[in-house]
């Protein structure tokens, strides 16, 4: 198969993407209001001190030089130091980003676990009661703001019933999963509503296809027809949507981490923006952008695997 060359080609395409990300981050950070020196020294700083800080941070040099220095250090994994926390940014990200990734992955899994079976129920009982109920319930899920939903879940299952912790991250992997369940559920609901709707429509589009009729004419079991012939073809478009939704999901993680007091990258980002901690904002933005690019790559690979016509 041509899958191997497809993967190589797709990996090469990552290089310009990453370069573009670096440029955007570099420019954006310089467009932010306020400057690092006054953030560090306070508003009443002396000019001499400001100059000294700028020199230390390399901000007195020309922009192209600044960019070259910046790109080189990023490439070597050096993202600078946090202004407030006095720690290497790379270290901070290494500590906080996995929490956000775990939260996002859990949310994605929960969304899929909800969406796929319910899309089948809705599609196979199209126009009947089950279809209306599923679609109605998801319409509600889709229209509720993430933080509001999070607060409701927190109040009911955390505070009232005491089934889940009301915040924090816990110790040890299983405890992490336990702590992240409610926030992940919060994040998952609107995504699963979107996926459900898309997959339901895709299944309806595929179920009367000639190749599905032909599969029936072979005397295959309905379960095999659904999983092998219907689901796989229907998933092609839904996987693309799913990949595109990962960025949104990461954005939602910022809000969710704030509501549930989870020490993830989203919280770190919010705190750093308020504190004008440029190096952290910059490093996190790069890390998240790389993460999103990688999920796009992964999405493409899954699509190529699902649909052999893609990898050509």
């Amino acid at each position: 198969m041509h899958l191997a060359s497809f993967i190589v080609r797709r990996l090469l395409q990552l290089i310009p993407t990453l370069l573009f990300i670096l440029i955007v981050v570099f420019v954006l950070v310089r467009l932010l209001p306020g400057d690092p020196a006054s953030a560090i020294l306070g508003d009443r700083a002396l000019d001499a001190d400001v100059e000294r800080i700028n020199r230390e941070l390399g901000l007195d040099r020309s922009l192209p030089v600044q960019f070259a220095v910046f790109a080189k250090s990023v490439a070597t994994g050096n993202l600078g130091n946090s202004i407030h926390l006095k720690l290497p940014v790379a270290e901070l990200i290494a500590a906080r980003l996995p929490i956000t990734i775990l939260l996002t992955v859990m949310a994605a899994l929960i969304a899929v676990l909800f969406a796929v079976p319910l899309a089948f129920v809705a599609a196979l009982r199209r126009g009947r009661a089950a279809d209306s109920v599923v679609r109605g319930a998801f319409q509600v899920g889709l229209s509720m703001p993430v933080f509001y939903l999070g607060l409701i879940l927190l109040t009911v299952f955390g505070a009232r019933l005491g089934w889940f912790p009301v915040g924090g991250y816990g110790d040890g992997f299983l405890d992490h999963l336990y702590h992240l369940f409610l926030p992940a559920l919060t994040l998952a609901l609107s995504l699963s509503a979107i996926l459900m709707r898309n997959l339901r429509a895709a299944i309806i589009g595929v179920i009367d296809a000639e190749y599905v009729q032909f599969a029936r004419a072979k005397g295959l079991r309905p379960r095999l027809i659904l999983s092998r012939h219907v689901l796989r073809n229907a998933l092609i478009s839904t996987v693309a949507l799913f990949g595109l939704s990962i960025g949104t999901l990461l954005g939602g993680a910022v809000i969710t981490e704030t509501v549930f007091a989870i020490p993830g990258a989203g919280r770190l980002m919010v705190d750093s923006i308020y504190g004008r901690d440029y190096p952290v904002v910059q490093g996190l933005t790069i890390a998240l952008a790389v993460l999103v690019s990688l999920t796009f790559l992964l999405t493409d690979l899954v699509q190529a695997w699902l649909d052999p016509r893609v990898a050509r």
């Binding site: 190749y211 009729q213 004419a217 072979k218 005397g219 295959l220 092998r228 052999p308 016509r309």
Partner: protein, 328 residues
Amino acid sequence: MTQAPALEVRNLTTTFAGGRLTAVNDVSFTVLPGEVLGLVGESGSGKSVTLRSIMRLLPASGAVSGHVRWQGRDILTMSDADLRGVRGGQISMIFQEPMTALNPVLPVFTQIEENLKAHTDLDRAARAARARDLMDLVGIPDAARRLKEYPHQFSGGMRQRVMIAIALAGNPTLLLADEPTTALDVTIQDQILKLILDLRDELSMSVVLVTHDLGVVAATCDRIAVMYAGRIVETGTVRDVFAQPAHAYTRGLLGSVPHAGTERSMLLSIEGTPPPLDRIPAGCAFNPRCDFATGPCRARVPVLEDLAPGRSVACFNRTAVTAAGSPV
């Protein structure tokens, strides 16, 4: 003529849209073991719907009534589990469109093997070997490599062969072949028809062959059933019907066949087009296009009457039609 039929279709009626559209209307025919029956008629006459109704392969909007007797049972009323044994095992179907009937995202091997898995006790290795044999059988070279490929890597003719390989995987005793050669060029068409006939001889299976092409019927079929607007209007052996058509529509169809060495004779081709399902004329559905039509044709629906054993026709003016002689 005393042989018991392999398949017996009685009063098959298929409607769509809650009964408002009748695509197949009170159709009855039989197929003997080892026999090739040609089902002909213009586009929209109900040939494909007839085949799909036999296999209970209709969308949710379709409703079937009547009887389809197969090995002492009625396919239309048997359980879903029994039906799965018949479909793809005892009775196989070749779909009209090779471009859309194969799953685009599965390798050809999977699409053959799943049929073997459903209908044979072969183990994995034996299924792989049998899949290669089937590819050889239908004349696809380089079987081992091509089995790993996907439908989009095959030409139209090769896809049609793949479909035939799939249909033959379960060693069917009846093959329902829906225009297996339309959209293929003539040499490939001949190869595929010859293949089906060879297999009929080798496996002694019966075949219902749907086609527009009366030349194909003459070359391959034992008997013919002519359909118009959802009804069978004439049946008989190919020899009898071609020599002496008794229905004006059959005569018109025969007249539009290009003969060997001559141009298509436009004089005798049928004027107009078949009616859509929501506008089937009263009386004989063919009457607006019929040169032989008389008063009764516009008032009543002619019923199929036996002229001889195995030969029947539904035409009020069959004497006049017969007297006009065969155009071929």
